[in-house]
Symmetry: C2
Amino acid sequence: MSLLLDNQFKELPPDKSVDTKTFLEAVAHLPSFFDCLGSKVFSVIKSDINGNIVKITAVYNKNPAKYVTLQDILEAEREEHEVVWPKVGATLALMWLKRGLRFIQILLQSLADGEKDENNPNLIKVNVTKAYEQALKKYHGWVVQKIFTAALIAAPYKSNFLKALSKGEEVKEEDCLANVRQFLVNYTATVDAIYEMYANLNAELDYTV
Amino acid sequence: MSLLLDNQFKELPPDKSVDTKTFLEAVAHLPSFFDCLGSKVFSVIKSDINGNIVKITAVYNKNPAKYVTLQDILEAEREEHEVVWPKVGATLALMWLKRGLRFIQILLQSLADGEKDENNPNLIKVNVTKAYEQALKKYHGWVVQKIFTAALIAAPYKSNFLKALSKGEEVKEEDCLANVRQFLVNYTATVDAIYEMYANLNAELDYTV
Ligand SMILES: CCCCCCCCCCCCC/C=C/[C@@H](O)[C@H](CO[C@@H]1O[C@H](CO)[C@H](O)[C@H](OS(=O)(=O)O)[C@H]1O)NC(=O)CCCCCCCCCCC
Ligand SMILES: CCCCCCCCCCCCC/C=C/[C@@H](O)[C@H](CO[C@@H]1O[C@H](CO)[C@H](O)[C@H](OS(=O)(=O)O)[C@H]1O)NC(=O)CCCCCCCCCCC
């Protein structure tokens, strides 16, 4: 059925800890989200995000019993790499990954909320730009920001994007957006929990690339 | 000493065949050329080119005795993948790699020839643009062309670029350019020979990305 609903995120427990294994399983399907944007240009982003996931997975696999939750990983790395932490290991990979996840979240939420350019209702530029500004822009220097603006012209039409999210099936826009809304429930909660964890552990950095 | 002179290309034999092993050894150092451009933005290009080299190396390593020259690889792949060739395997990887090599060649040649923007003699925009237009532009769709234009603002000053080519040592511009000229002799001959081989074997494609 839908790319999103096939790979739902799990509900968080009351303490909002994120189970590493479950998270990695759910997140493994997200890089293909960028294929839905159509242009091969976005494969660069896909591989950046994929690299984050590979890195976190490699750390987890070294000792699954030790790294049950994402917080376990951050705390262990904080001890292990005192001086350079948090700009290291899975802590750094998840720092960036969460920004990509937030980008996806805001983009989907904006579409689900029906935000649109009234003059060009079939364009997703306003939604992509909103997501970029809130999730990523401040971590990008002016060159990458300019590249974003250039890449924006490769953004697909809304109808094509929603169709791709539905794995190419002809789904009514409203049905697709209903799927998106359902997906966003646990997904947003998970992304929020990761952001909170970074804030609590003082693990957030704001250098630009 | 210099990034380039440490890794000279070998002189070609009279029949202009390119020895695979020698070529792969020489070319392995070129991805770090893109570090000389300074900005991390160019790491995307570095890894694309690196991917090409990895792919050709993997094919070569499967049977070094069979793939003595680059032409041996192309001819073997042409037989093996009749229908999809040349858009396949090491043939495809080398098709793109040679364009990156040509880009580097034209950029360095243009610098060595003293081509410059008289109003901004310490900028390399004119040289980079010339190299892009002759080596790559026609293989890029308008989105990637726009991204190139945006990325161009990250191009370093000539003085910093030449310093990086000299591995950070303070070398006089003229000395560095003399090194570049020496490097270009066998390098250009090798790149030319690969282009000729693609023309002769009818292995060139002109699709855009
Ligand atoms: C021929 C001409 C070509 C010219 C050259 C052009 C090159 C263009 C390159 C543009 C940049 C592409 C985006 C990638 C940006 C990345 O640089 C950043 C930071 O990336 C992080 O960096 C860390 C170190 O600082 C670690 O290495 C992380 O790796 S680690 O795992 O090793 O720790 C890594 O993810 N990631 C990001 O900004 C994340 C981006 C997320 C998604 C963005 C969605 C945007 C969608 C846009 C839709 C319109
Ligand atoms: C947050 C916002 C982010 C928005 C997203 C931005 C993303 C930007 C991405 C821009 C493109 C980066 C350049 C890479 C382009 C590549 O797409 C092409 C073709 O690449 C080839 O494709 C083949 C299939 O068709 C095979 O996969 C080849 O792989 S195979 O080995 O598997 O067969 C592969 O090399 N290579 C190229 O065009 C080669 C480029 C060579 C060097 C260029 C030098 C330029 C220097 C510029 C200086 C100013």
